[in-house]
Symmetry: D4
Subunit: 249 residues, 8 copies
């Protein structure tokens, strides 16, 4: 039963061929999954100025190009994450106009200007230089979603003065994305210095008993500082997205 | 917007106060979650003669008694799983008529006769005597769900003749629930002897490197015999339930 | 003691050289493994129209070609799973007539027509596009085993309307194979919407704390929806096979 | 060098006994940890109307009572989490006026009225009845921190209509705390229905392969729905706290 | 088809009512599982003078007593392992004559004298005093199975002279059972000093990162000394049993 | 061959009854494990004024009392670790003179005065009040081993000013034992502030994803600050012991 | 102090320049590690006709060639395990005469004839064709160590008749090496059929939840059949070596 | 507020425009992170003659060259760890003068002579030849940090005489770095022979159940020998660094 079916039913009611009670009974039993019009709007993100996001990892260049073309027809902005430089080169041959952000291993296509709709500043903090690709992914995501974003990189806890020396910047942020590999201690320290939400991102930076980011992940989940929430290992996009949602409340 | 709202809307259509197109437009936008009539029927199990199931573990005797009383008012059959003897004693003081099945650590209340609706025989097989409580939970579940159920207990693979000596019984079953702790090898052997679906249940029987059933679970997931599917450790109920669904196809 | 030995023994009985009791005593003690004639028929699958299955992973193209040739001499159908496109190319040079199914990473050879012997429809559902190779393996397996198979792809739980919008198709299936990576939540949702057996297949799709499918596997084993059973990570073949067994009860 | 030292130094500057440059040089080298006045204000939470929080688990009743008395002298509100009923009984004998919240296994003492300073509604959602203690801890925490809090309990994904039937309540919330044990799928479904931040709380509800909440934790970290962040297993307090920070941005 | 069926068949052959070829054909097709007489003799251990073994853990005193009585009727020796002193006390009230070995947490009943049938000496070595219960279980098992058994206890690798000072005893043994908790290094050192098989038993002795014996288990599996094989954590019985089998080759 | 044997051999050489070459040949072949006099001196710790240490956990009060009596006969100091108050009460009835240190869950008996032989100060730092038992065990161990020991407790990283405010004390120490549960971040921060060896002790303080100290352990092993070494979870004794060895170099 | 030192000392005794007591005192204190003559003979294996074994994995072709040359100078037999075909090609260019065993991924050089010194037959059993490389490594090792070795391959438990059909061969063996990947159930079944020691070898054959052999390893450690001992994953050499030691008792 | 601000403030005090009390009040509230002059000196290592360390793994040759150039301008010594030979070749083309240490997979640049400032000898011990790269990294690190370093390689516990034969060298060391893969037993044995601090380094040498060094790591953490502390898997640099700190106390 689709829209036409309902039109017919309503027409019959209008004509008196079907009583109101009968119509109700029939409406009651047609499954909502067939309504069509009741479908959840999966374009909510789009309408809010959020970009369409393509997870580049595991997709063929051809697939990525096809999706990008489809989205662009809708004039939406596009963010392709986890796109290696060599895959970017291949995609570029298939679809033009994508801008590559090497540090974030991501590409973007801006179909309409990004308006800053986030209320405050999203501050992306990372512990070491090896964490920067994840951090830049978060930065790019939050920027594409209409936030003012600042960076504070390479401020690991082994040199605590580096964090302390930037307390003003920490205090000025509305939401903080804090990224660290190895022991993942940075979010605890940062969360103790601010009274804003901290989204912690463990990275797979490390070796041996880091177990590809497990150590950092567990550390962040066990943070002794209240107010820390955690996303998946290396999930800079997820952190940037969550920060954007928070920054609009 | 509930049923009354729709009645009103239809009434307006009938009276010509609302055009068919307008009505359609309004119907299009009322969220299905408010329909009421579109709600998924969570009583399906009940209508099919399945019992209402209460997971007794972690519930207070008072809670269990209250739920039992509520269900009984609907004349439904009741199955309470993971109910220790001492909790059963406490529940019994609060609500009468429950029958306790010590071997299955479960209690039942039969409000209406159980009809055998399962097509063939559900055969519950277990490896050792320590696996029997899980096996009996599966037996009781499948029985309560209207199946003919048979048991074949204590036929672990270290004495392979015990299984082989019962091949006829294995071959005659429609669905097999095969339960084992320790290395969990029994389902592979059984599945190699029959051409019917085998539901494997790992148990927490064992010590040391059994890691509370993990060894058996992994073994069953890696079964070299096709046709084996697996449920959670010690989940006799789940296996009995799945076997019942299979036995009705 | 082989067939000839028994013939001799029987001959002696016939001639009266051996009493019936003596013969029984001797028969009693000859080990069954030497009977020969008592061997379990491992061709059961074949007789039922099931294909012979070759796990292509880890086998050399030459080995695969040899096995395919051997099976084809028996006029059996052949299914080669986990066969990469490049290995297929190598195998094709050695043996002709194999059809390659790129989406399922599998090859088939149909020696005799496949008859639909499964009772109802096997519905293969998957959460994301990255799960499709596993899903197609399940589809191909069930098809080769004589089932009517339908697909419902890319209906992950983050857009719940996609599942709900296909409830009719879900409800019409006899057995459901539900495939998901990442958090593996789809089988729980689907099992709550149908009253048919659901075989859940975790996939290794994901990164970081997905631990190559462990997260999805654990999620499915802990499903809050009764009736879900689980196979190994990425085991589309196993799920298709189990679904086929269920669909014949 | 403490405050008196600085006073002396300044006095010398005032008297001309120490040049401005000399004073600067000395100030430069006194370690900030001795400043005393530069200490980070750990009372920030307090000043904002947040309660002082005592983790009751692992503390003796005497210890808890002593801390409560100390805090009350500062007229701060007090929240004692993870306090069993029997420990509450013991604490009550030592300090009066604590109110016990059995469902949240927590106690509170309200020294000054709680003002609603949170902007929107914090909605606490949980999957099953066994998750309620964790959910109530989140509710109580967010309430004590000045938020309007609503509850939506027992809406697990196996009965998806239960969530869908409450979409309006979901959509109206500013921040959502979504709590589930077993497979932990609820946050993914909820996050797909709203465009607000979702804080996921895995619980240790389950058995066998739930591994005390590990399955739910991994599931939530791998959520296919963007916007989900995660806290530690059973950490209702942490989720309530983070939600409160978010609700003030 | 049981023994009587075969008798009938043979009788018919004898009478000439059934040709030898016909009889063979019929014998060929009766399934071996029904033979009865072909059953694997599970009394092999018994015949060789091995004791019947009851795993006491997880069994009720009544069950243990019943099994002991049953075995004693067969004049077999009995070994009850993992029997706590308090359970022994309860069992003793139900069945008399059991001897308790407190150090091995086991009980025995000797129905017939144990003959030494093992060829050489089984030497049971353990690292620390906390490993002694497992060691004594191995000693008792091997003794009950007819071996000359010697002990070398408390010779952990942190005091390497303790092992070296007993090299003669090590060298004189035919089979060595080497037991250690914590890091489980002792088997490697011992296996480097002898050229006899070493059965390594990890114990759950330790805390923290010993993870209940996992550290010792992994250590032993990775032994740099060839000739080491490993049994389950705390499995003194299994090691004693395997040593006995080896000692009879 | 013991000392007497060698004396005899030497006597024969002296008397010319055995040539030097013959004597060498015989000496060459007597196994060193029989020398007796070559045994490693396991009393080294004792001679250096270290206490004899008894791990109280898992030992019966009677056993502990017996060992204490034996050691006291040698006038050695005694340290009994992991001794609960109730076990202490039982031990006290069997042997007098033990002093109980409730905070360290340990008992001592001082047979001879402890001399400070450690060169500098051992500073024991811990993150939270729940870590104090482990910290006090480290303090008591190092004190018993002749070190000047200082404490700096409750300086977790969530309030970084607490550590910074004590930098002078940190800088003055020769060796630091840094103890933390939960995410175990404190050693990284401390090691970044000093240039002395830091021994990190993870504790089992925490819940959920702390996995009984695993999170803290992994965090410490992955410390981004060079100079950190780690001991087992809750191993305050081991840290105190290692610190003492370091403090004597 | 080496041999010359002792000669000097003895000479002094002989000349009366050193009293017997003085000599003893000096001997008492020279550390045994300097004796030289007391060194453990690491050539034991060699003397018994065992080959010298080189673990090829992780070594450069040049290194392997150098070691082979060195051993050959001693006329010892050589076994190089874990040597890929391509590395074999490189080694062959550097040193001649090595025979490559492709199935066992190993090379040998026979300097002196291998005598059969093992008492009985070592039977190497494996479950699937993918386990054959590990099985052949065990076969080659045991053969090189002087045993009569037989093979029984591809007898996995999913087709139990394959094992049963070879019971005579199983029963005739003195020691059994049983190799399986996936669920690792074969050793339990085999050990239930024989009364000889069974050395179980888990292999990394499998995928997904086999976790590179962990499933098989845990399964074997938890074998319900007594007499099974286990070696490391894929350790065919270790199993062959241990079997050889057992076969000489 | 920076230095100039303080100068101004002091000037006002001097001029009497600001009272001492007012000045104190203002100083009290300026955040220390802005002081600038209070920054922790991260050049401590440098001043002590320690090299600047670059972790080469994961860095591009260009990055490494740039950092090396920057450090060299400060006349500091440089140590680049985890630098493969092929990356070294690339770096060499960009910056001259680096010396490559192939065995340690590291490069150095010596800007000023290294003075031996460590008090005693750092002895680096390793179990097998495969552990040598990690051992050489520790040797090089400690050497670059001004220590006299000795090596004792290939002394695994399976040939215990190899360690014992070098007891004098062990006893002469001030600090010992003990490196082992597989079961990681060597540190326990060594620590039992000396009374000096032992830093244990697990390596990823091994296969199967070594789980990339986890087995060795757990073994070392559970060492039965007091005085052992542990660093991350393969962390030769960390061990050499910690040993250097210890050797200066």
């Amino acid at each position: 039963m689709d829209g036409q079916d309902i039109l017919d039913l309503l027409e019959q009611v209008r004509r008196g061929k079907l009583s109101v009670t009968q119509a109700l009974a029939r409406l009651r039993h047609f499954p909502f999954e067939d309504l069509g019009f009741a479908k959840v709007d999966h374009h909510r993100a789009l309408r809010q100025g959020f970009p369409e996001v393509i997870m580049g990892h595991g997709k063929q260049p051809g697939e990525i190009a096809a999706i990008v073309r489809a989205i662009r027809r809708q004039k939406a902005n596009v963010l392709v994450t986890r796109l290696s430089a060599e895959n970017m080169a291949k995609v570029s041959k298939l679809v033009s106009g994508l801008e590559y952000h090497a540090a974030a291993r991501s590409a973007t296509w801006i179909g309409k200007p990004i308006k800053i709709t986030g209320k405050g500043t999203v501050l992306v903090v990372c512990a070491g230089t090896s964490d920067i690709p994840v951090a830049e992914e978060a930065v790019l995501t939050a920027s594409m979603m209409g936030n003012h974003v600042e960076k504070l990189f390479d401020v690991g806890v082994a040199g605590i003065h580096r964090i302390l020396g930037n307390r003003r910047q920490l205090a000025a942020a509305s939401v903080l994305v804090v990224i660290a590999g190895m022991e993942g201690a940075l979010p605890s320290v940062v969360a103790g210095l601010v009274d804003k939400p901290v989204i912690a991102v463990p990275t797979s930076v490390g070796y041996g008993a880091s177990f590809n980011g497990l150590a950092a992940l567990l550390g962040m989940l066990n943070s002794c500082a209240a107010g820390v929430t955690v996303v998946n290992i290396d999930n800079g996009f997820g952190a940037g997205f969550a920060a954007s949602l928070i920054n609009r409340i």
